[in-house]
Amino acid sequence: MKKKKSKNSSNKKAKELLQIREFVNLIKDADITELLWEKDGTRISFKRGAPNLEEQKESAQEEIEDYAPLPPSPKIEQKSPQQKEETLPFSEKYTTIKSRMVGTFYNSLSEDQPPLVKVKDIIKRGQKICVIEAMKIMREISADKGGRVVKILVENGHPVEYGQDMFLIDPYYQKKEAPETPKKKHK
């Protein structure tokens, strides 16, 4: 018997229920990214794992157009013990939008609609970029950062895990071209 843990888990029960209700309610506002920012800000920030944009803004501004195609993220496949340790060879210029949920990734609001985001699109923070299905509920996911989409890293209908990279983003592009972007100018 592990008393320490079982006490924890029984204390957590009530909290758990509350959390889930809160969570489901907030999903309806369709801004999960923002929700997670607010809720966990101090302990798990989005900065962790992604380059610190504030610091890099001062540095070089060249545009890198070609990007070596990434392997399709095969995390939920049979794997060898060591495979996990490899990290993707991201350019330091680029950043990613990661999944904060576990579920199935869809690029559009429904099958008969066009993709929310395509490669080379300029996206803004807060813009809907994909849908993740979890526990039979479709949740619209908003971008937690803006920039130009360099690559979409997950195929439509494929699973994503927590922290998985979904979109490869060039954050500097936004700065130069955001005013000319034809999409969703109204805030």
Binding site: K2, K5, S6, E16, R43, V102, A134, M135
Partner: protein
């Protein structure tokens, strides 16, 4: 049988379940936090899915992400291990509503056994001995005196709102009772704001003796040889053994039957444990029932030859229990030491760090269940238990000698561990004689230090 099991846990128990699944030919899905990217359970499972950041309540306790992980991987069952969500009725319910089998008893059983007073009532009704005491709080001193005479001294007066030894008075005889009740009431009022107290028989120096039970959906229930878990520090078990040096075959049968009675009373299925307090006179009292696999299950596996996790999975899948009570044998003596990343010289302060030198004990009669490896970083986010060292010998003396030599071989550099503490226990005279109770650590080990 299940095709794919998601393991909603981490560390050694997640590995233990992966091992059982492998041997049964069932695919496994590990879930892990970002802190556990390099954990063995994530590496050794057929698939692994990150479900959240390091803190448990956002990963290992994150029900939506765990259920989603089961859905995207196509798992048809979830094994909760111990701790985390293992005794969470809400989780069991969500699993059920998503058509995923929760590997454990029904949520009704978890609920009933999770509530101490409900469990006590159910056991009393079923005829399982419980610690004699007042049905509720004591209001009149005369009632207290009458009850104490009936259940015999020593008795203990406890504040209903108390816990962990606070607001407690042990009373040796009639003369002290009135005073004790009054003091306890005023203390309780001051400490907890409520003056309610209740009365219970006091069990001096009890042993903690528990019985593993197995049950199927047809109502077949058996018990396995008991575990003695008296070596505890602040209600945390540290050393467990099977069989208990205090239990002979007659007492084993008596306690085992009581355990089966307890399980039958709630229509228990899969694996579970009935915990008893055993006093010096051989009287025993129901404490609680744990509705999951336990940390100390390997000692029972070693003496009975039964793989409890495989059995648990089979029973959860609806297989019939094909073991018969009279075929259960005890082969030798087994002991388990829980190796924690804690500094025994600094009041068991948890010790995080990266494993450098690392040599596992081996050879005859030695089993190690662990999720660590050289270069592994022990995270401060989770439980400090990093390994279980379990040995079996032909008799208790051989088992103790074996444990002592295995502890001597066990090299874990980079963090402080409880290995030296366990060596002290194994070489203690009282321990060697089997004369232990729940006060052993305090009386024998800390006094020497």
């Amino acid at each position: 049988m299940f095709k794919k099991i998601l393991i909603a846990n981490r560390g050694e128990i997640a590995l233990r379940i992966i091992r059982a699944c492998r041997e049964l030919g069932i695919k496994t899905v590990a879930v892990h936090s970002e802190a556990d990217n390099d954990s063995l359970h994530a590496k050794f499972a057929d698939e692994s899915i990150c479900i959240g950041p390091a803190p448990s309540d956002e990963s290992y306790l994150n029900i939506p992400n765990i259920i989603s992980a089961a859905e995207i991987s196509g798992a048809d069952a979830i094994h909760p291990g111990y701790g985390f969500l293992a005794e969470n009725t809400y989780f069991a319910e969500v699993c059920q509503s998503c058509n995923i089998t929760f590997i454990g008893p029904s949520k009704e059983v978890i609920l009933k056994m999770g509530d101490k007073s409900k469990a006590r009532k159910a056991m009393e009704k079923a005829g399982v001995p419980i610690i004699p005491g007042s049905k509720g709080t004591i209001s009149k001193i005369d009632d207290a005196l009458k009850l104490a005479r009936k259940i015999r001294y020593p008795v203990v007066v406890k504040a209903s709102a108390g816990g962990g030894g606070k607001g407690m008075r042990i009373v040796q005889n009639q003369e002290g009772l009135k005073n004790a009740v009054m003091t306890c009431q005023s203390e309780a009022k001051a400490a907890f704001g409520k003056e309610e107290v209740y009365l219970e028989k006091y069990i001096p120096k009890p042993r903690h003796v528990e019985f593993q039970i197995l049950g199927d959906r047809k109502g077949n229930i058996i018990y396995l040889p008991e575990r003695d878990c008296s070596i505890q520090r602040r209600h945390q078990k540290l050393v467990e053994e099977s069989p208990s040096p205090a239990v002979n075959s007659k007492l084993r049968r008596k306690m085992g039957h009581a355990a089966v009675k307890a399980a039958k009373a709630v229509k228990y299925t899969t694996v579970g444990t009935v915990e008893f307090l055993l006093d010096n006179d051989g009287d025993f009292y129901f404490m609680e029932m744990n509705t999951r696999i336990q940390v100390e299950h390997p000692v029972t596996e070693l003496v009975s030859g039964i793989d409890l996790v495989k059995m648990q999975i089979k029973l959860a899948a609806g297989e019939k229990l094909h073991l018969h009570q009279d075929k259960i044998k005890i082969c030798g003596n087994a002991i388990e030491c829980r190796i924690n990343a804690e500094d025994p010289d600094k009041d068991f302060l948890p010790s995080a760090g990266t494993i450098s030198n690392y040599v596992l004990p081996g050879g005859p009669g030695v089993r190690v269940d662990t999720g660590i490896y050289p270069g592994y970083s022990i995270s401060p986010f989770y439980d400090s238990m990093i390994a279980k060292l379990i040995v079996i010998g032909n008799n208790r003396q051989e088992a103790i000698a074996r444990m002592e030599r295995a502890l001597g071989e066990f090299v874990i550099d980079g963090v402080k561990t409880t290995i030296p503490f366990h060596t002290k226990v194994m070489t203690d005279d009282s321990y060697r004689k089997g004369e232990v109770n729940t006060g052993f650590i305090q009386e024998r080990i800390f006094k020497q230090a």
